[in-house]
């Protein structure tokens, strides 16, 4: 490998077809740490004419007689590649308080004393890189492996999770990664609440197609709250919202009671009268029974009947379930896939309020919260509230979306970790660069990644972009409940 040039914070390195460099590899150039973000052919003058000449007669119609050693060299120049490597920093020796000296990674570069002719360039061993970054990498880790020439297992440490974003275009593997992370958190005894918009997580308790044992399912570590469900079955629990947890306006909206009708003030009256107490549909029914206006009375009785049939309102065991599942860790999934728009928002609002209350009263240990496409059921001010307030209550949100532009900018400015899968859209890539962990050129490499390959950066990677590939999960049905046109 030879150093060709330095352009801004990019090193351009030429290498021969015999040498192997991959996207995401870390190049060590005389003490400088740089990361390969693009690979292309060396732009050798005359190569177009050289290739055009070769295309005059097809390869299959050409018989070449030459010395084998000459044959091995022919085309080697035309096949020379250049790797564009983004300068990340340098390795420096540091002695700790115990007097132990080790090489550590330091970002930034204030001097550039590198010789083109003599620079020693090599692909930095992943073990050395991890050591310099202070990253733990258990050899038996199965979450993912780095994409470098010498892949190395890498695990996301739950201790380093804060505000997290897992993003990527549809089908890029982001939900798969989120599910794998969820299972890892269960392994570490963490409870995660999941707002599952598309029924992606509903089968996690089931065994995979080869019917291998699913330890999460058998241990009851995964429970699904389903709205409108009459009775609990297997891992599914009916999701009911206590009536006193929602406002009169929410209830009126749910039952199509227009504010200009006389039913609306009647509902407000009940809510005002019952403030501070735990009331349910029976209490409301009694109140309506005592109304003098027969039209209002009849109208509201019809609405209450509808609410009863919906099975959405009633006493809820959420707090108890959370407390119980926290003992060993697990996942509590809220199936929003069959809930209406209004239902989604009141379910989420109720759950967040419950968690907030538990957090404030310090009744629970810190928990993780997965929000799939949060922008579709939480408005921007509430997302900002989650970002700023929830973390102080011990609630660590992970946003999962295929539309990074739909999330408020505050998500990016407060982000602790980014796990980004393939995007082709420039605007999406620019949005991701707003997190400040990674430059636009580097994040643009997402265009070239394959399914389940991603860039992870943040506290989990000591702020060094790691190109990783998510490993398959054994024993767990990872597919959601998406229906196919033809199966």
């Amino acid at each position: 490998m030879r150093l060709l040039t330095k352009k801004a914070d990019d090193l351009v390195v030429v290498y021969s077809p015999d040498e192997h460099v991959k996207l995401g590899d870390t190049l060590f150039v005389d003490g400088i740490v740089s990361q390969v973000i693009n690979i292309q052919f060396a732009d050798v003058p005359g190569v177009l004419e050289h290739v055009l000449r070769k295309s005059l007669i097809t390869e299959s119609n050409t018989e070449a007689n030459m010395h084998p050693q000459v044959k091995s060299v022919i085309d080697s120049l035309a096949d020379q590649k250049v790797a564009i490597a983004k300068i990340r920093g340098r390795l420096a020796n540091e002695t700790d308080s115990r007097g132990v000296t080790r090489e550590i990674f330091k970002s930034g570069l204030t001097e550039f004393n590198v010789s083109r002719a003599k620079a020693d360039i090599k692909v930095l061993n992943q073990t050395d890189l991890f050591s310099a970054l202070g990253l733990e990498a258990p050899e038996n880790g199965d979450f993912c492996k780095t994409l470098s020439s010498q892949p190395k297992p890498f695990e996301i440490m739950p201790e380093k999770l804060g505000i997290n974003l897992i993003t990527g275009m549809k089908g890029s593997g982001k939900s798969y990664a989120a599910k794998r992370l969820l299972l890892k958190l269960i392994d570490r005894g963490v409870l995660t609440l999941v707002f599952d918009l598309n029924g992606e997580y509903l089968n996690l308790w089931k065994s995979d197609e080869e019917n291998r044992s699913n330890k999460y399912g058998s241990a009851g570590a995964i429970k699904v709250y389903v709205p409108h469900l009459r009775n609990a079955t297997m891992n599914k629990l009916p999701l009911k919202i206590p009536l006193h947890e929602i406002s009169s306006d929410d209830f009126a909206t749910f039952l199509n009671v227009a504010p200009e009708t006389q039913m609306y003030p009647a509902l407000m009256g009940f809510w005002n009268e019952s403030r501070g107490s735990k009331f349910d549909l029976n209490d409301l029914k009694s109140y309506v029974g005592g109304l003098s206006n027969s039209f209002v009375k009849a109208g509201l009785e019809d609405r209450i009947k509808t609410a009863e049939i919906s099975q959405l309102f009633g006493p809820n065991d959420l707090v108890d379930t959370i407390k119980k599942m926290q003992e060993h860790g697990g996942a509590l999934i809220f199936d929003l896939s069959r809930a209406g728009v209004w239902e989604k928002s009141i379910i989420v609002e109720f759950v967040l309020r419950t968690m907030s209350r538990l957090g404030q009263s310090e009744e629970i240990k810190p928990i993780s919260l997965f929000l799939e496409e949060a922008q579709l059921y939480i408005d921007s001010p509430r997302i900002k509230n989650i970002l700023t307030r929830m973390r102080h209550l011990g609630i660590f949100p992970t946003f999962i979306t295929n539309d990074p532009r739909a999330l408020p900018n505050e998500v990016y400015s407060l982000l602790d970790n980014l796990v980004a899968f393939m995007f082709r859209n420039e605007d999406d890539l620019k949005q991701l660069a707003k997190c400040g962990f990674i430059d636009y050129d580097s994040i643009s490499t997402l265009k070239h990644l394959e399914n389940r390959q991603c860039i992870a950066i943040g506290n989990i990677t000591s702020l060094y972009p790691l190109f990783v590939e998510i490993n398959p999960q054994i024993g767990v049905e990872m597919g959601g409940e998406t229906k196919k046109l033809i199966s």
Binding site: P45, G46, T62, N65, M66, V70, L77
Partner: protein
């Protein structure tokens, strides 16, 4: 080709210093001019008197005839203390009868480390393999040796082609002329005879010639200066003042396409197809500039691109255990 290649010197003294030839990548291809062993003979034709001898030719694309075209190139890859390393490549382009697609046989690039110490022995052995007799003289000096070897190898491949193919129109780059030193008459005659035996029509096309008109001292190609369209003039050999034994075919001057260049064309005296029909066929093969397309392809596929030269310089160093020596001038005066 094995017999030819068996005599190539495979080794030179280890660790010889090698000064690679300078390559300008902006040039894309390097195509050194082949040396002309053709003697500068004179033709006693008066330009004006020949107007009546200009023959018109009707172009007829020889779709049902196999076309074979041969061309070769050489390049000095670099300097050794007492020699050089050269590369030679020959292309044979074949368009089988009734087909549209062409096939290509590439011979080389072959690398030759030639020094004052090994060049005579190598040249003698190669000459013997190709011409089946001892060379009349020692090898030429280092400035001309590479081109002489190229000509020997090209001739060997031409003879191989004449034997391998039948009923073909074989296009050669150059002329059907025997040289006293490099290319004895017997070999050129053998080539013509092998061609006749297999019913091949040989056409040698020269882009330039040293045959000049007696009075005007202009090239014989000027005979067609005042004519238009595809045409040719024949019977030139009969008007050469000097000895004509070395010319093994009829010599023509021809323009193969309406706006094409004028070439000297040699065709053996005895061919299975009349010369007028051969002219119709090669006019049918002529491209935009009046040069037969298969021959143009043979040239384009044999010349070395600058990229290949750089690669071959690396291969030569590896193959012959040479060590790089920077050009002292360039090192001192790098600006």
């Amino acid at each position: 080709m094995d017999d030819v290649l068996s005599v190539v010197p495979g080794e030179v003294r280890e660790q010889l210093a090698f000064e690679p030839s300078t390559v300008d990548l902006a040039e894309c291809f390097v195509s050194p001019t082949k040396s002309d062993e053709d003697d500068a003979d004179t033709v006693d034709i008066e330009e004006q008197a020949n107007w009546t001898q200009v023959q018109r030719m009707a172009s007829s694309y020889p779709a049902d005839t196999q076309i074979v075209a041969i061309d070769s190139t050489s390049f000095k890859l670099g300097q050794l203390p007492e020699g050089l390393v050269g590369a030679i490549r020959t292309s044979v382009v074949i368009r089988p009868a009734g087909e549209v697609n062409r096939h290509l046989q590439l011979y080389g690039p072959y690398l030759f480390p030639l020094t004052n110490q090994n060049k005579d022995a190598f040249y003698t052995r190669l000459y013997e393999v190709v011409h089946k007799k001892q060379p009349p003289d020692r090898a030429p000096d280092l400035t001309r040796i590479l081109d002489r070897i190229r000509a020997l190898i090209e001739r060997a491949i031409q003879i191989k082609v004449m034997r391998a193919y039948k009923n073909s129109l074989v296009l050669l780059d150059g002329s059907l002329i025997a040289s006293s030193v490099g290319d004895p008459r017997s070999t050129v005659q053998r080539l013509v005879d092998e061609a006749a035996l297999n019913q091949n029509s040989v056409v040698a096309v020269s882009k330039s010639t040293r045959l000049t008109l007696q009075n005007s001292k202009r090239s014989i190609t000027s005979l067609l200066d005042n004519s238009t369209g595809p045409c040719y003039v024949g019977g030139i050999k009969e008007h050469i003042i000097q000895q004509t034994d070395k010319y093994l075919g009829n010599i023509y001057v021809a323009r193969l396409a309406s706006l094409g260049h004028i070439f000297r064309i040699d065709i053996p005296l005895k061919t299975s197809v009349p010369h007028s029909d051969i002219f119709a066929q090669i006019a049918g093969l002529a491209g935009e500039h009046g040069y037969p397309e298969e021959l143009r392809l043979a040239h384009m596929t044999c010349v070395l691109s600058c990229i290949e030269i750089l690669e071959l310089q690396a291969a030569a160093m590896q193959l012959f255990g040479l060590t790089m020596e920077e050009n002292l001038r360039q090192e001192l005066f790098y600006l």
